[in-house]
């Protein structure tokens, strides 16, 4: 169902990544992991044939506002999203998607995340923390540089909510960063998982991010877990 929603505020969450807080329409219900289509209609900068994009909802179902996060790119849609006045309306459609957290809190959740793929994970963790669900949680979060990393502080802070929580940021082009970093670098691979997860065959895995990262990670996971233990969300087309 399509609904017009007002933009409440805009925030820079990392270099080249903006968060848009949207008014949540009356009766709009969703589950962490859902996504929505967001259309910028009647906007003079926009190509009428290319008005919408899909975004995972980064806010949790309990929150009053809807948060979407856009990676800024050099296309008319993203440029318009960056400049559209606060208070303007967007048209959302949804929610859609099947990416969901598992039920068994005894079973660890291991998230393998690339860049903007963190958004559905933030929604899941916020909701789980709100409900005091005690999943053992491992977050492996790859970005090019520290400066590109959205929700870094919040992801550190989740340690205060979950009894067993491990957050592993990693950077693939940290040599181009101005920030000193002594932690993990490079892509998320099996040795990295083994350094933090005592038994890598046990968790329910969630792989979310750009297409090559998602399908590459799936092949890596194929080496030690069956596919029923893997959920993926492919951010193909989220340009």
């Amino acid at each position: 169902m399509q609904r017009a929603v007002r933009i409440i505020r805009r925030e820079e969450l990392a270099e080249g990544k903006i968060g848009l807080y949207l008014e949540r329409p009356e009766g709009f219900r969703f589950v962490s992991g859902h996504n929505i289509d967001v259309a910028l209609e009647n906007h003079d900068q926009i190509d009428p044939a290319d008005t919408s994009r899909t975004f995972s909802i980064a806010s949790a179902p309990y929150e009053k506002e809807l948060l979407i996060v856009a990676r800024l790119r050099n296309n008319p849609y993203k440029k318009a999203l960056k400049t559209i006045p606060i208070g303007s309306n967007l048209v959302i459609d949804g929610p859609y998607g099947t990416f969901r957290m598992h039920h068994d809190q005894q079973r660890p959740a291991a998230f393998i995340v690339g860049g903007i793929g963190i958004t559905p994970v933030i929604s899941m963790l916020r909701q789980a923390a709100r409900e005091n669900l005690q999943y053992p949680v491992y977050i492996f979060y790859a970005n090019r540089r520290f400066e590109d990393t959205a929700f870094y502080t919040e992801l550190i802070d989740f340690a205060g909510h979950f009894d067993n929580y491990t957050f592993v940021p990693t950077f693939t082009r940290q040599n181009t960063s101005k920030v000193e970093w002594a932690g993990e670098t490079g892509y998320i691979d099996r040795p990295m998982l083994e350094r933090y997860i005592p038994d890598i065959t046990i968790p329910q895995y969630y792989v979310v991010g750009p297409s090559p990262m998602v399908w590459g990670s799936l092949q890596m996971l194929d080496g030690f877990v069956d596919r029923a233990s893997i959920k993926v969300e492919d951010f193909t087309g989220f340009d």
Binding site: D37, T98, Q127
Partner: protein, 319 residues
């Protein structure tokens, strides 16, 4: 103690709360299908289940399933029942595929024998997890079918295989009689209807099929009722025709559930006559348009004469 206080101030919220349901829509009379379960319907269902095979008729909740199964035909869906894409119109399950079944081509060929089919339509889920998108299994399926019956007519309806030319060529080299890939909708609606897909990529696949030698019959299909205009349909016909595609199917989009896109419009049968007229005017050899038309529905009645014509042409060339 701290935890107790925490749970007192935070109300318990159901993490699995379902999205609000939209009102049930009423289908126009010209779309309603009579529930007619013939003995053949159950026989086909049983044979597919026994051979651990899937049909798109079942997985995508096709409205014509009773008719097709009743006539002893089915459109096989290979490469498993889990699709890696989340198209908003499609009822096939989105999930991580559970591996690769290399015995499926042989089982399918055996089942075709059991069903006594001389014409077979094969489609598949999208397999972004496989380097070749499943092309080799498509090709092996065609080879196995021909091994059992050299005269069998095979139509393949392939996913976009991420537009990988080598993968598409693998399927073409196996020699399907009809090579189909659906464009599904008009350019403007792509992001909403087929996230992760691109119209240009789909058109390039059709073009590659047309340029292959010996050329199979090239076919595509799209849905209406998703909010497209007649001008956009006309433009899409032109874009498709430029690829050399010969057959187009056009049918009403029917929302499989409340988790899918809603129908924006139900086209009246008279409007399909106009769509069909525009299609023929654009230059297609066959246009199948109607409320319940689906890509694989009575597939070989659409392509029979074109296949025969092309076979004669190929024979003449090889002499």
């Amino acid at each position: 103690m701290a935890q107790e206080a925490h749970s007192q101030i935070i109300p318990k919220i159901d993490i699995e709360q379902k999205p609000a349901k939209r009102p049930r829509r009423r289908l126009p009379d010209f779309i309603k299908v009579k529930a007619n379960f013939s003995p053949n319907y159950f026989r086909v269902k049983d044979i597919l289940a026994r051979n651990d095979l899937h049909s798109v008729c079942q997985e995508a909740s096709c409205p014509n399933i009773r008719e097709c199964f009743g006539e002893g035909t089915a459109t096989f869906m290979i490469l498993g029942a889990n699709c890696t894409r989340g198209c908003r119109f499609c009822d096939v399950k989105t999930a991580v595929p559970l591996g690769l079944d290399r015995e499926e081509p042989k089982r399918l060929a055996r089942t075709v024998g059991e069903l006594n089919l001389r014409q077979v339509v094969i489609t598949s889920v999208t397999r972004d997890d496989l380097r070749d998108g499943g092309a080799e299994i498509f090709a092996e399926t065609i080879r196995q079918l021909r091994l059992r019956d050299p005269e069998v007519k095979v139509e393949v309806l392939i996913p976009d295989m991420r537009g990988d030319e080598k993968s598409v060529a693998t399927v073409l080299e196996a020699g399907p009689d009809v090579f189909a890939h659906n464009v599904e909708t008009v350019a403007r609606l792509y992001r909403r209807v087929r996230p992760g897909a691109q119209l240009k990529r789909s058109l390039d696949i059709l073009r590659q099929g047309h340029e292959f030698h010996p050329r199979p019959v090239i076919k595509t299909g799209f849905m209406v009722g998703l909010g497209e205009t007649l001008e956009e349909i006309t433009e899409l016909f032109k874009q498709i025709r430029e690829t050399g595609t010969q057959i187009v199917t056009v049918g009403q989009y029917l929302s499989p559930s409340e988790d899918h896109l809603e129908e924006v419009k139900f086209y009246h049968p008279d409007e399909y006559k106009e769509i069909s007229r525009i299609g023929y005017e654009t230059g297609f050899e066959h246009v199948e348009a109607g409320p319940l038309v689906r890509s694989s529905y009575k597939a070989f009645s659409q392509s029979k004469s074109i296949i025969e014509k092309q076979e004669k042409g190929h024979d003449a060339e090889s002499r």
